[in-house]
């Protein structure tokens, strides 16, 4: 006998619908919008936005902290269902672009993502949680499927390169955890990227100051 009770939709079904009908078109519109807001800015390598994949979302929804589910309401609590990234050249550029982000977007969080201690490795960049602007929302998208916020990261080329390689090597599903030796080698690459970023920025600031002095 069939139950007359409607079956509760699984998180997988709910998110898949959100992903297909709302997040994918929003990611496209968000890319265009951010590109437009930043179009006058020099030294931007690229701007991208993406909808968080179904597998990645479901994996994140399962996260446990101290033996308890971190996300009891993942559809509302996970704030990077829409994620955007602005890649710029130098560390000084991040500060300049920070002002543009705050000028055009309403933030409920902003911070530099750094490791918890100076002995840990990792090289992440600046991170924001921003209100999804209504000018990217097409009237045809169901309001209930639109997340309130999106995540924006501003990274230098080295931060971007390091975090992409680190993610590929360290966080692929099905891979065994990193060995201590592998962790040490990743820490080495992180320090190298950190050093290169600082050197490039020093050079940029020196050259820029010299250029301005010549122009006076």
């Amino acid at each position: 006998m069939k139950s007359s009770k409607p079956r509760r939709e699984t998180l997988d079904t709910l998110y898949r619908r959100r992903y297909e009908t709302a997040l994918k078109p929003l990611a496209k519109a968000l890319t265009d919008h951010i590109v437009d807001c930043f179009k006058e800015q020099p030294r931007i390598d690229r701007i991208t936005a993406r909808a968080k994949g179904v597998g990645s979302f479901l994996e994140k929804a399962k996260t446990r902290v101290e033996n308890r589910s971190k996300y009891t309401e993942p559809l509302d609590q996970i704030q990077d269902q829409l994620g955007a990234r602005v890649i710029t050249f130098f560390r000084s550029d991040v500060e300049r672009l920070d002002a543009i982000v705050k000028k055009y977007f309403r933030a409920i969080e902003f911070r530099d993502r750094v490791p918890d201690s100076e002995w840990e490795f990792g090289y992440f960049g600046r991170h924001y949680v921003l209100v999804v602007p209504s000018e990217i929302i097409d009237a045809s998208i169901d309001d209930a499927l639109i997340p309130a916020f999106f995540e924006l990261q501003i990274k230098t080329l080295f931060q971007h390169a390091w975090s992409e390689a680190d993610h590929d090597l360290g966080y692929k599903p099905g891979l065994s955890p990193l060995t201590p030796s592998e962790k040490r080698r990743l820490a080495y690459t992180s320090a190298q990227a950190w050093g290169a970023d600082h050197m490039f920025d020093e050079l940029f600031c020196e050259r820029n100051a010299a250029r301005l002095a010549t122009e006076k």
């Binding site: 911070r111 209100v131 209504s134 097409d138």
Partner: protein, 345 residues
């Protein structure tokens, strides 16, 4: 209560507090009470609750901490109250309002109205300002006149309200909608104490973002419209320079400058949804001037006149040359400083 009442049936709790000014002076204790469903005031407030979705028209968002953490003291109080709406949990909200109310804002009556609509929690704060009034009772043989010192009135310009609704008490309640009729009416009262100080919030749309939307919509609408609408939009665009610092929406801009239906439709066609037109922001003149920088007029004889938007009418003097042919004559005087060849548009 008669006329205009829109009962919601979803209101579950109402708490009321008399809030004395406590900013810069020793605050008086905040006294509060629960409003019972049987009380006549309950029906009035049920109407306030029901109308709030329509009346609260300014989108606001809680601020993060100054160092960027996703935490806000006012939001914390609201979420804590919604997790168990008791008089004791409501009191810190009223105390917070007292701390941010100065003598110019005066005594107020704050109602916290909590309801549940399907899956969503909804809360409305409604602050009635105080006033004095004269009460008259008429009987067959006499008229009794009484001076009332503490009358709380919703129709005063200093009435304030805010509405929040969300299904999740954990992740939601970051954004809401407010009423603050004083935002464009300097009346001596600090106009930002309700949204900025008490609610620790900002307009959801930043001044630059809102102004950019308006400027781009005007620019694109003018580009695509027929000449008469184009001229109407450009006139409005010129007048917009006088809006510096004012609270507007794209819709209110069109109403304020009395745009025709065709001009309004042309602007609306440039917006992704009606909501974009309704969102309120503070007009940012410097952002506007970067986006609406130049005005060009093209004549049928091949002439193309361009000048900075704000100076165009000073740079070029226009007069009627032949009214029957709609011909005009432009004149200007200056020293040649540059010449350019341009590609075809």
């Amino acid at each position: 209560v008669t006329g205009g009442w829109e009962g919601s049936l979803s209101v579950q709790h109402i708490h009321a507090f008399l809030v004395h000014p406590g900013r810069g002076i020793k605050p008086k204790p905040v006294v509060g009470t629960s409003v019972a469903r049987s009380d006549g005031t309950f029906a009035l407030l049920d109407g306030v609750y029901a109308k709030s979705d329509r009346e609260c028209d300014v989108d606001i968002t809680f601020r993060p901490t100054s160092d960027g953490k996703q935490q806000n003291d006012c939001r914390d109080l609201i979420v804590s109250y919604l997790n168990g709406p008791t008089l004791a949990k409501a009191r810190p909200i009223a105390e917070r309002l007292a701390l941010h109310t100065d003598l110019r804002s005066g005594l107020g009556l704050l109602f916290l109205i909590v309801g549940k609509e399907v899956k969503e929690h909804k809360i409305v704060f409604s602050r009635f300002p105080t006033d004095s009034a004269i009460y008259v009772d008429e009987s067959a043989s006499a008229l009794t006149v009484e001076f009332l010192e503490r009358v709380f009135m919703k129709n005063k310009t200093s009435y304030k309200a805010v509405l929040y609704r969300h299904a999740s008490l954990k992740a939601g309640f970051w954004s809401g909608r407010a009423i603050d009729k004083q935002l464009n009416n300097p009346s001596g009262e600090p106009s930002n104490y309700w949204i900025s100080d008490f609610l620790l919030s900002e307009y959801t749309v930043t001044p630059a973002a809102g102004t950019r939307r308006l400027a781009l919509a005007l620019r694109e609408a003018a580009k695509k419209s027929e000449l008469a609408v184009k001229q109407e939009l450009i006139s409005a665009a010129n007048l917009a320079s006088g809006l510096a610092g004012q609270r507007i929406s794209i819709d209110s801009f069109a109403t304020q400058f009395n745009l025709s239906k065709s001009a309004k439709d042309a602007i609306a066609a440039e917006l992704k949804s009606a909501r974009v037109g309704q969102e309120v922001f503070r007009f940012d003149l410097s952002e506007y001037r970067t986006l609406v920088a130049y005005k060009s007029v093209e004549l049928n004889n091949g002439a193309l006149l361009t000048a900075q938007f704000s100076d165009f009418d000073k740079v070029f003097q226009q007069e009627v040359a032949d009214d029957s042919k709609d011909e005009v004559r432009f004149s200007t005087k200056g020293k040649i400083v540059n010449e350019k060849l341009k590609t075809a548009p």
